[in-house]
């Protein structure tokens, strides 16, 4: 009985998991500072690779996803209690900084390391 009930409840979740390629993962993405409209300010580098996270979060948030306790509970709530509570979302987990060389409005030149500018891995939370 429990098994059949479980499969009913879990139906939408399996759709959520989707095919292997749709799993939550890091996608490389590059943009130029010219495209962002910041090339009058930023001298170097010319290209910026922020990357992004996209994909479905699995029904069971396994160890490798680094999901916090809250995400695991929210996943269970979505699954078992109330589907109006959304499942966890696929978002960046680790970031790395980027070094920029800038010209400020007053003509000063600035080297600066900006934290959390490049997504390096993803998590469900």
């Amino acid at each position: 009985q429990a098994g059949s009930m479980g499969s009913e409840v879990l139906g939408p979740s399996r759709e959520r998991e989707g095919p292997e390629s749709n799993q939550c993962s890091l996608h490389p993405f590059q943009v130029s500072f010219h495209q962002l409209g910041w090339d009058h300010w930023i001298i170097a580098p010319h290209l910026y690779t922020p990357n992004y996270c996209k994909g479905a979060c699995p029904r069971v948030l396994r160890y490798g996803l680094n999901s916090p306790n809250h995400a695991i509970i929210q996943s269970l709530v979505n699954e078992l209690v109330d589907q109006s509570v959304p499942p966890p979302s696929c978002v960046p987990y680790k970031y790395v900084p980027i070094s920029l060389l800038l010209i400020e409005a007053n003509g000063s030149i600035l080297y600066k390391e900006y934290e959390n500018m490049i997504a390096q891995s993803c998590t469900c939370r």
């Binding site: 409209g37 680094n66 003509g107």
Partner: protein, 244 residues
């Protein structure tokens, strides 16, 4: 103000650090890029290339010792009338207001100690500007840097961290570092009226301020105990039945 693309900024914009910084520091798009040429730009490009790779990733082995370096050019450039073989420029460097977030770790003044003007090689040095004190010297910390330098032989980098900290850093309001750039003709040469205006003070003296970000935070998330994670991974359906 920032330029394209126009972003509808929410009312609480000042709480968004990157956007706030863009609003404060970025030149307006329509103004175009401020013109900074010559040695200061070359110096900072080289500093950048040593500290980060072509994609902007900070290098593991970077020796910069700070997360932010600001090159400040002099605001004014007052050249005194010739006095024998001496040529003196008074230079003002504006120091921005203190930001709690950034801690000054080092300040240096970079200048040409050899200047070629009208077929003469001048010997130059920098000293703090103090009214009616012709023999003023930097305190002992104002020594020439022994660190690996990005500079050619004609340039000197002098540490003035203590001078700035003691005299200026904690002042409220507008702060200006005033320095004298002093050059001397060779002793045996004929004293000629050399013209400074052929030499941009920006290209002969600039200030470097090194800062560290004191608000670096690494948000660590406590995970489930490993045993529980493995249990969930191994038999999720069992867990679901138990919860139900």
């Amino acid at each position: 103000k920032v330029g394209q693309p126009s972003i509808a900024l929410p009312a609480e914009v000042p709480t968004l650090p990157l956007i706030l910084e863009l609003l404060e520091e970025a030149p307006a798009k329509q103004q175009g890029k401020p013109q900074v040429l010559g040695h200061p730009l070359r110096y900072m490009l080289e500093l950048y290339q040593r500290s980060a790779d072509a994609h902007g990733h900070p290098r593991e082995n970077r020796t910069i010792g700070a997360t932010m370096v600001r090159l400040v050019k002099p605001l004014t450039n007052v050249a005194r009338p010739l006095r024998g073989p001496w040529h003196i420029q008074t230079l003002d460097f504006p120091l921005r207001s203190n930001r709690v977030k950034y801690q000054l770790v080092r300040a240096t003044v970079v200048y040409r100690h050899q200047l070629h003007l009208s077929h003469f090689n001048l010997s130059c040095y920098v000293e703090p500007w103090v009214q009616k004190s012709p023999t003023n010297q930097f305190p002992s910390s104002g020594r020439v840097s022994s660190k690996p330098s990005l500079l050619s032989k004609a340039w000197t980098e002098m540490d003035i961290t203590q001078h700035i900290r003691q005299r200026l850093w904690n002042h409220k309001g507008r702060r200006v570092l005033r320095l004298r750039f002093v050059c001397q003709q060779p002793k045996d040469s004929e004293v000629l009226e050399l013209r400074w205006h052929g030499t941009s003070s920006l290209d002969t003296v600039f200030l470097l301020l090194y800062f560290n970000d004191t608000h670096k935070s690494g948000q660590k998330t406590k995970l489930l105990p490993r045993g529980l994670e493995e249990f969930m991974e191994r038999d999720a359906s069992l867990l679901l039945r138990r919860v139900r």
